[in-house]
């Protein structure tokens, strides 16, 4: 029986596998006033983000996702990161996460998000991890259109 090896355990860390199996804040919440859908046309991953925004505070952040383990875990970890945070803080968190993964600097991520750091070494999987975050940004900005991973970079 072969073992996974360091590369695979670095990508699929226990926290990632745990969040993909048991996602936090999954499903449409009872109360929300913002939502957005994200789509990765290359692989068909779909994410929907629901927000309850009150006085610039993200009271509720929840998601629905049909996608790979990396995408689901990233969405789940994201909700834990930005829930009950101010809009500005959440934007900064999105920015930091996107930059860390897209510049190969996954190792700079801290806290539970560090578990997703290995993704930055897999170019074909970075979009799986960033899709929920791009979708969160669209929900915060209340942009109507579906976002896709093929848009150049996260819009401000």
């Amino acid at each position: 029986m072969s073992e996974p090896g360091r590369e695979l355990t670095d990508l699929y860390r226990q926290i990632v596998l745990d969040h993909s199996r048991h996602p936090r804040h999954q499903g449409r919440p009872e109360h929300y006033n913002r939502e957005a859908e994200g789509h990765n046309p290359l692989c068909g991953d779909k994410v929907r983000i629901y927000l309850q925004l009150q006085d610039d505070l993200l009271q509720e952040v929840a998601f629905e996702a049909s996608g790979c383990a990396i995408c689901r875990a990233s969405a789940s970890l994201m909700t834990e990161t930005v829930r009950r945070r101010a809009l500005l803080e959440a934007r900064a968190a999105v920015d930091e996460f996107d930059r860390a993964l897209s510049t190969g600097a996954g190792a700079t991520l801290t806290g539970d998000l560090a578990a997703l750091g290995g993704v930055s070494q897999y170019p074909s999987r970075i979009r799986c991890a960033t899709l929920p975050w791009k979708t969160l940004l669209a929900a915060m900005d209340a942009t109507a259109a579906t976002v896709t991973t093929e848009q150049e970079s996260i819009q401000r």
Binding site: M1, L11, G44, K46, G67, C68, I70, R125
Partner: protein, 412 residues
């Protein structure tokens, strides 16, 4: 089939020696290249043919008065004759070099498409690759024609009765894949062609997935158009072929325009070249055509019946092993199937499978395979697909199984 059993077995180890790319380690494991439906690898014989051409004979074709241009033209036209013989076309005038299957289909959609009027119908199937859907959708937008889609059943087979029912007085073209890239289904194309032609309806076959695996005889098929790519049959990328029945091509307006496709150009008017040059504007991919001919010679030397027999063995071996994995379901279980297996494993997304397998040296495709309507038909976001060529071995399929078991343990 007696033809298959009578064919001499392949010496696969010797064949693999012709493909140096296969003898490498990927992520610390021997490469098991099982993504042949996306693109095959090419043997040294193809690379050498192209290198010889560029080293000794290159110039532009069909125009120069000098020796190199004559030689280049001779090689290019000899390649066309090799293609003609390979698909048993009646004449080299019926062999048009294109960039690939996609461009070949676009040529027909553009040139044949100019005949279509509002209310006319084009009939395709629910198992088509995007390249045999989108050109027709665009044609429908331009002309007001209507795209009709014959359904497939749960095994991924065309529902013949529905197909026949959709053949009507308004049907102006049938465009069907010979072999499905996402499901492996081999369509009963002779039956479809006979039905269409008895009603006077021309038929285009998308042969991209068929031609690497079985002998194709366009006259026996009696199709009007047959489109295929070089890179899926051990030839170069950027070269493909549209076979067109001469009587059909004769009446079609040009596709792309420019040099080589004209006889005379003046500002009063332009006259077009004869077949097949009328459909080959600009300097063609000369080296690509030469490489494609070398690939066809290579496949002919191995013997397409021998190739088909080996691949059928790989398919049944892989199918048997895969079905032993708990939670694995095969998508596409047609009775007549090419050597590929599309599958899903419960609880593991195809992309995660693709990444884990890659870390074990196993190259497969994960996703919608450019056939999103097929995925929609089966209610799937995608599948993992292992597709085999004649140079693959049972050992590589064992390696695939080991890697899938590892993925199942990781996600248990």
């Amino acid at each position: 089939m007696s033809l298959v059993t009578a064919s001499p077995p392949l010496d696969v180890e010797a064949v693999r020696g012709d493909f140096p790319i296969l003898a490498q380690q990927v992520n610390g494991h021997p490469l098991a290249y099982l993504d042949n439906a996306a693109s095959s690898q090419r043997p040294l014989q193809v690379l050498e043919a192209m290198q010889n051409y560029y080293t000794h004979d290159h110039a532009n074709v069909h125009r120069g008065v000098h020796s190199l241009s004559h030689r280049a033209t001779d090689h290019y036209e000899a390649a066309r004759e090799t293609v003609r013989a390979f698909v048993n076309a009646a004449s080299v005038r019926e062999i048009i070099f294109t960039r690939g299957t996609t461009e070949a289909i676009n040529l027909v959609a553009f040139s044949f498409g100019q005949r279509l009027q509002a209310g006319d119908e084009i009939l395709i199937t629910a198992m088509e690759h995007h390249s045999n859907i989108v050109p027709w959708q665009l044609l429908c937008e331009r002309s007001g024609a209507v795209l009709r889609v014959a359904p497939i059943n749960d095994a991924g087979e065309l529902v013949l009765a529905e197909f026949m029912a959709l053949l009507g007085p308004r049907t102006k073209l049938v465009a069907v894949t010979h072999v499905s890239n996402a499901l492996g289904t081999v369509n009963p194309v002779k039956v479809l062609i006979a039905a269409a032609r008895s009603r006077g309806i021309p038929v285009l076959l998308d042969g991209a997935q068929a031609i690497p695996h079985q002998a194709v005889d366009v006259r026996d098929l009696d199709c009007d158009f047959y489109a295929f790519s070089g890179h899926k049959m051990c030839g170069p990328t950027g070269i493909g072929v549209l076979y067109g029945r001469e009587a059909m091509l004769q009446d079609l307006p040009p596709f792309q325009s420019g040099g080589d496709m004209i006889l005379t150009v003046s500002f009063k008017g332009t006259t077009y070249n004869e077949l097949p040059y009328r459909f080959e504007a600009g300097t063609p991919h000369i080296a690509g055509a030469i490489g494609l001919a070398a690939a066809m010679n290579y496949l002919t030397r191995l013997g397409l019946p021998s190739i088909a027999a080996w691949e059928a063995g790989l398919l049944s071996y892989a199918t048997g092993l895969l079905l032993q994995l708990p939670g694995l379901s095969i998508v596409g279980t047609a009775r007549d199937k090419a050597s590929l297996v599309s599958f899903n494993i419960a609880g593991i997304h195809p992309h995660d499978l693709g990444t884990i397998l890659d870390q074990r040296g196993v190259a497969i495709r994960a996703g919608h395979h450019c056939a999103m309507p097929v995925m929609e038909r089966f209610g799937l976001a995608g599948t993992a697909r292992a597709s085999f060529a004649f140079y693959n071995t049972r050992g590589e399929i064992d390696q695939l199984l080991d890697a899938l078991r590892l993925a199942q343990r990781m996600f248990a």
